[in-house]
Structure formats: structure tokens, C-alpha cells
């Protein structure tokens, strides 16, 4: 019973995920070594690693990897630090806290493509966007976000959308904090920084690790925001790995190269995951 029960409880999750993973994975591996372009369905044949070679020798490949990692690191940093700050801010009661909670979480409800258009048109347009208007009011030359800071613009809009996610997880995690310990520390005269360092942050360690890992997975494959706003440009300044795969899969309709790209993306994700686990893995236990 002792050994059987945990396994039985795990079984549905493991089995279904295994099937979900293995079938598309095998198909993708198969597609990646054949010539398979949807527009030429007749010409299929084994071509070994040619698709990989083609994907890897894309002149934007290196930049795409760098951009992907930068996007990842920046958004994670912003959302984790911001999320913890916000969660701490609204941890203790104050007037209107319930409404504040809903308002803070709501950006997460917006659909990613709408989010992208919202930022591109309303906030960042150098002529009629809000940032531009505010800049002009302050007498400062408006920033041309999409042209001069394309990757940063994308980072900003993605971070805005994911901040609520992190905040909500931290808010819930803070609920399980030992309040009595906290009161005792306060009575002993601990400053807020000390409370932070010795009580709050260690308690949040696990949820921070969870947020980082989950966001890593999602952020690796975003491309809709990029496609809608900058189109990957100017040049390849805001092209990431998912965008390259998208270009092959849905513009070129080359399922072979796209599959090769997808597998390379998995490799990258694994590398990043191993790296992250080394850094924060202890916190997961």
C-alpha cells in the first residue's frame, strides 16, 4: 500500500503526459529528417540532417538565440522582482485591497495579440501613443520604441502581461507564511529589510523557483507579439527562435525545416533548464 498508492496517484498524469509528448515528438523527429513542404506534398524523401543544417545556417540564427535568451532573462527578472514587491505591498490589509487585487491581476486576462496591439498603437506609437504624448508634455523627444528599442518594447509588453501571474502566485504563497513568527520578529525590533531577508524571501523561495521555471517554458515560444508589432525587425533585432520556426512553418510551409527547428528549440530549452536548476533547483524541494 505504501508503495502502490503514490504511484497510482501519479499514474494518470504521467501516462497522459507521456502519450501527449511521445506521439508528436516522434512525428516531429520523423518530419525533421525528410523533405516535407506542404506546398509540394509529393516530394517526400529522406534527407538526413539537411533540414537541421538549413535551420542552423540561417543568418539570423545566432541573433535569434541571443534575443530569445535576453527576452527570457529580462522578463523573468522584471516579473519576479516586481511580483514579489507587489505581493509584499498588498500582503497586509488596507482599504480597497480586494479591488486592487483584481485590477493587478487583470492584465493577464488580455489575449496576447490584443496585448501586443494595445502597446503598439496606444502606448508606444511615436505620434499618437500615450508615451509620446507624455514625453511631448514634458518637453522630451518621444522615443520611437519599435524602431530603436524593438526587443525592449517586446520585453515590456510581455512583462506587463506576466507580472500578474507572478504576483498572484506570490500572493497565494504569502498566505501560508507563519504570521506568528513574523509578529515575534517585529516585536524583537527587526527592520523591514531584515524581515525580508530572513523571513519573507526564504519562504517565497519555492514559489519563485516555480514562477521562473514556468515562465521560462512559456517565454521560449512566444512569437505572436513579435509578429504583430515589429515583424521581427528592424533587421532581426527582435527575431527570436520561435519566430524563425514560425517563418519556416507558416510562411514557408516547410514542415521539415520547422520540425528541425522545433527540436533545436527543445535542446535550447533543456540547456536553459539545466542551467536554471543548478541555480535555483534546491528551492524546489
Amino acid at each position: 500500500m505504501n508503495r502502490f498508492l503514490p504511484r497510482a496517484l501519479l499514474a494518470p498524469a504521467v501516462v497522459t503526459l507521456f502519450l501527449w509528448m511521445i506521439v508528436p515528438l516522434l512525428m516531429t523527429i520523423y518530419f525533421s529528417v525528410i523533405r516535407y513542404n506542404l506546398m509540394q506534398p509529393g516530394e517526400v524523401g529522406f534527407i538526413g540532417l539537411e533540414n537541421y543544417q538549413y535551420f542552423l545556417t540561417d543568418p539570423s540564427f545566432g541573433t535569434a538565440i541571443v534575443n530569445t535568451l535576453m527576452l527570457l532573462a529580462s522578463v523573468i527578472a522584471i516579473t519576479v522582482i516586481g511580483g514579489v514587491a507587489l505581493a509584499l505591498l498588498i500582503d497586509e490589509p488596507f482599504p480597497g485591497r480586494a479591488l486592487v487585487r483584481v485590477l493587478l491581476i487583470s492584465p493577464f486576462f488580455v489575449m496576447p495579440t490584443v496585448n501586443a496591439l494595445l502597446w503598439k498603437h496606444m502606448m508606444m506609437n511615436p505620434i499618437y501613443g500615450v508615451f509620446a504624448q507624455v514625453s511631448r508634455f514634458l518637453g522630451v523627444q518621444p522615443v520611437d520604441w519599435m524602431t530603436d528599442l524593438p526587443l525592449f518594447s517586446v520585453i515590456l509588453m510581455v512583462a506587463w502581461q506576466w507580472l500578474p501571474f507572478a504576483t498572484l502566485i506570490f500572493v497565494t504563497a504569502l498566505q501560508s507564511m507563519n504570521r506568528e513568527q513574523l509578529e515575534a520578529a517585529r516585536m524583537d525590533g527587526a527592520t523591514y529589510l531584515q524581515q525580508l531577508r530572513y523571513l519573507y524571501v526564504p519562504h517565497l523561495g519555492r514559489s519563485i523557483a516555480v514562477v521562473i521555471m514556468i515562465e521560462m517554458i512559456f517565454l521560449m515560444s512566444i512569437f505572436a507579439e513579435i509578429y504583430t508589432t515589429t515583424g521581427g525587425g528592424p533587421g532581426d533585432a527582435s527575431t527570436n527562435l520561435a519566430f524563425l520556426i514560425f517563418k519556416q512553418a507558416l510562411l514557408n510551409f516547410d514542415a521539415g525545416v520547422a520540425s528541425a527547428g522545433a527540436l533545436l528549440a527543445i535542446v535550447l530549452a533543456n540547456i536553459v533548464a539545466i542551467f536554471l536548476i543548478r541555480m535555483i533547483g534546491k528551492n524546489l524541494d
Binding site: L38, Q40, P41, T147, P234, G235
Partner: protein, 435 residues
């Protein structure tokens, strides 16, 4: 046969008729104004054909293209009618993926504008029926031109356009000389830039399919473009496409604009434009040659070859692109909203001409565009502002990204063209056009 079997046969046929009673047509379409109109008026079709029900799937252009291409290539069979453009029609038609359209005499297929019809046919067979057609032209602020003392001819040159842009460029007053597309995309900035290259005497590929992106016409065109927009264009141009510029123009911020003829209907609509009565039209500017200076595009309805509801689909398409439909829209919604760019008869209709001041300019533009002969040197591809080959989408966006970078000043024009040439060369080699 005896009475009993005759009865059985009749009964069987009746049942078959009953079970066929409601054919359901699923139509995938793009969400521009004319299509929205058509959805509203579908009830008229269903009333006239009680055994057919129509269901619409409306998607944004990029998503639509991806969706229908995936479906037709994997023979998914999800759609009975697909809305495709002039880009897909020759490619898919040649592959035999589309059903040939054979409308009856009442449809008057000769009434279709010749260039549009040609763009949607392969070897003389019509594979998609147009419900909306457009070309490109120059739309400028007559009031600003008058103030600067310049009168633009109906066929201006790019040099004249640049002159006028310089004169009316006034950022202090919030007016920019000229607004042009810059967002990377084969249908965004590259649509416009291809026409600019064409009119400078260039082409995408020579007769052996080698990309020509480092040729003199390309260098001339792109240098001109970057110079013009950086001097007299609005900030943020490298991310602007049709809608962004439309917003700017309607706010009175653009002195000139070269883009789709449909823009004219928006900027002259007092409900959405602050400068509705101040707009003048001219044909798209030319440089070295008028060939390919203005583009040609149509959204059309096509039937996938494997569709199970061929007959019903043909009926719907014939209805939706007929003369009667145009009249129906005119009556129900107003002549300013009728689908344009498809039939000659629309342009001779006095009600339409009264409601659409730009009709003349638009028809002239459409008539002068020829997808089979749009470049000065002979080309192996069809298409005015694109090359109708499957590889073009990926090539288009890669080149578009480089052009956007050149415009933003991130790379030099020469460098951008070199990178573009390499990207195009790579794709063409992989696709097997040459070794």
C-alpha cells in the same frame, strides 16, 4: 419496372432529397469591410436557396492564409469555400488544388475587369471569383499642395512627388510630407517596395530565377525610399503598415500617401477622417518605367478540389460575385460600400460614381496593372507586387526585415541589399530552382 419498385425508387429519391435538405457551406474569409457586408447579406442568399445554409469563419489575413493553406495542403476538408488572394490562386490553380469555376452566361464573366480576371486564372481557366479588387495610387492633400503652389499631374513622377513632399513637410505643425509603409512583411512594406523597384526598371528574379536584389534598379529604389522617408516621413515609419498610416492620414498628419486604392474610401469618409474633403488622387508615381508602378490585388472566393459541396459552393460564389449582388449592396447599405475593383459594370453605374469620388482613379489604376507583364526586363514569375511562388512569403519577410532596418538606419542600404540577396538566394537554392 413495376409499380412497387417505382414507388420504392420514388420513395428512396424523396428520402435522399430530404436528407440533402440542408447543405452546410463553411466559408473561410478575411475581415475587410466588404466581407463583413457579405456576411450581413447572406440571408438573402439563404432565402433564395432554402436548401443551403452558410457558416462563416472570419480571420485576420495572416492567420487566414496560414489556416487555409494548412487545410488545403493536408486535405483537411474543413472549408467548402476559401477566400484567397491573387498570390495563392496561380500557385494552387497550377497544382490542381482548386476547382475550376464555371459560372453560367447570366453571370457575365466578361464583365470582370480583365486584369483582375487574368490574375485569378491559369491557362484561361478561372479558379477564383473576385469579390474585391484593388490597385495602388497616390493620395495627397490638395489643400497643402495648393498652398505650396504645386499642381500634380495625373501621372506624376517620383521626382515630382519628392519635390512636393519637401515643400509641404512641416513637422512643427504636425504634418509630414509623405507617409509610406515600413513594417516588415511580404504584403506590408515589400508590396510597396516591389512596385517602387518595378518602376525603377528592376525585378525580383531573372529568367534563370536568380534573385536580383543587388542590381542597380534595387539600389536606386531603396536608396530613394530611405532618403525620402527619413527626410519627409513621420517617425516610427519602420513599423507602419496600412492601418497605422490610415490613422495618421485621417488625423491630418500625412501630406501624401501611396497605398491601396481602398484607402481612398476611408480617407474621404467624414465619419472617420478629419480631412475627408481635402483629398486629391493621382496614379502611382513612376520613375523609369510605368510598368509595375501600381500593384494589383484581389480577394477571391475559391473551392478546394476535394470539397464535398461543389454545387452549392459554385452557386454561392456565383451569387456573391454577381452584378445583382453589387446592386443588392447598393440598395441595402449604400453605394459607397459596394465591392469595388471587380466588375466593369460597377464603374459605369451612376449611383456608384456619385458615391465614390475616387472610382475613376481606381479603375484607371486597376486597368493599367498587368500581373503577367509588370517588369521592364522579362520575368519568369507572375504578380506585380510579389512573385507568385510558394517561397515568396519567407523571402519577402526576410527582405522586408532588412529594408526596415535600412530605413531605421541600423544598416546601410548596400548592406541590407546584400543580406537580402543572400537570404533570397538561400531559399531559392533550397527550393531547387537552381543549384
Amino acid at each position: 419496372m413495376n409499380l412497387r419498385s417505382a414507388f420504392a425508387l420514388a420513395f428512396g429519391l424523396a428520402v435522399a432529397g430530404v436528407s440533402n435538405a440542408a447543405t452546410e457551406l463553411v466559408i473561410a474569409t478575411v475581415n475587410n469591410g466588404h466581407m463583413i457586408e457579405m456576411q450581413k447579406l447572406t440571408k438573402f442568399f439563404e432565402q433564395a436557396n432554402p436548401d443551403i445554409k452558410v457558416k462563416w469563419v472570419t480571420l485576420e489575413e495572416g492567420v487566414l492564409r496560414q489556416r487555409v493553406t494548412t487545410d488545403i495542403a493536408t486535405k483537411g476538408g474543413q472549408f467548402d469555400i476559401m477566400t484567397i488572394g491573387m498570390y495563392e490562386t496561380p500557385i494552387w490553380g497550377k497544382k490542381g488544388w482548386l476547382q475550376e469555376l464555371k459560372p453560367d452566361a447570366a453571370y457575365d464573366v466578361d464583365d470582370l475587369l480583365p486584369s483582375i480576371r487574368q490574375g485569378l486564372s491559369v491557362d484561361g481557366k478561372l479558379y477564383a471569383a473576385p469579390f474585391y479588387g484593388e490597385s495602388s495610387m497616390l493620395m495627397y492633400r490638395k489643400d497643402l499642395a495648393d498652398k505650396a503652389g504645386v499642381k500634380l499631374s495625373d501621372h506624376p513622377t517620383w521626382a515630382q512627388v519628392k519635390d512636393l513632399a519637401a515643400k509641404i513637410h512641416n513637422p512643427q505643425a504636425g504634418v509630414y510630407g509623405i507617409c509610406l509603409r515600413g513594417k516588415p512583411g511580404w504584403g506590408d512594406n515589400m508590396a510597396f517596395l516591389t512596385t517602387l523597384v518595378n518602376t525603377n526598371g528592376g525585378q525580383w528574379f531573372d529568367m534563370s530565377w536568380k534573385p536580383q536584389l543587388e542590381s542597380k534598379p534595387w539600389k536606386d529604389a531603396i536608396n530613394f525610399y530611405v532618403d525620402l522617408l527619413n527626410k519627409y516621413g513621420p517617425p516610427g515609419s519602420s513599423a507602419n503598415s496600412f492601418n497605422e498610416i490610415l490613422a495618421l492620414y485621417n488625423e491630418g498628419k500625412c501630406g501624401m500617401w501611396v497605398d491601396a486604392t481602398i484607402a481612398a474610401s476611408f480617407i474621404t469618409d467624414p465619419k472617420q477622417s478629419k480631412v475627408a474633403d481635402k483629398v486629391g488622387f493621382a496614379q502611382a508615381p513612376v520613375a523609369v518605367t510605368p510598368k509595375g508602378a501600381n500593384w494589383l490585388w484581389a480577394w477571391a472566393l475559391a473551392i478546394p478540389a476535394g470539397s464535398k459541396n461543389q454545387e452549392a459552393a459554385q452557386k454561392f460564389i456565383a451569387w456573391a460575385t454577381s452584378k445583382d449582388y453589387v446592386k443588392l449592396v447598393g440598395k441595402e447599405t449604400g453605394w459607397g460600400s459596394v465591392p469595388t475593383g471587380t466588375r466593369k459594370s460597377t464603374y459605369t453605374n451612376p449611383d456608384f460614381l456619385k458615391a465614390a469620388k475616387f472610382a475613376d482613379a481606381e479603375k484607371k489604376a486597376i486597368d493599367s496593372a498587368n500581373p503577367n507583364d509588370s517588369t521592364l526586363p522579362k520575368s519568369p514569375y507572375v504578380g506585380v507586387q510579389y512573385a507568385a511562388i510558394p517561397e515568396f512569403q519567407a523571402i519577402g519577410i526576410a527582405v522586408g526585415q532588412q529594408m526596415s532596418a535600412a530605413l531605421a538606419g541600423k544598416v546601410s542600404v548596400d548592406q541590407a541589399l546584400k543580406t537580402s540577396e543572400n537570404a533570397a538566394d538561400r531559399e531559392m537554392k533550397k527550393a531547387g530552382y537552381y543549384k
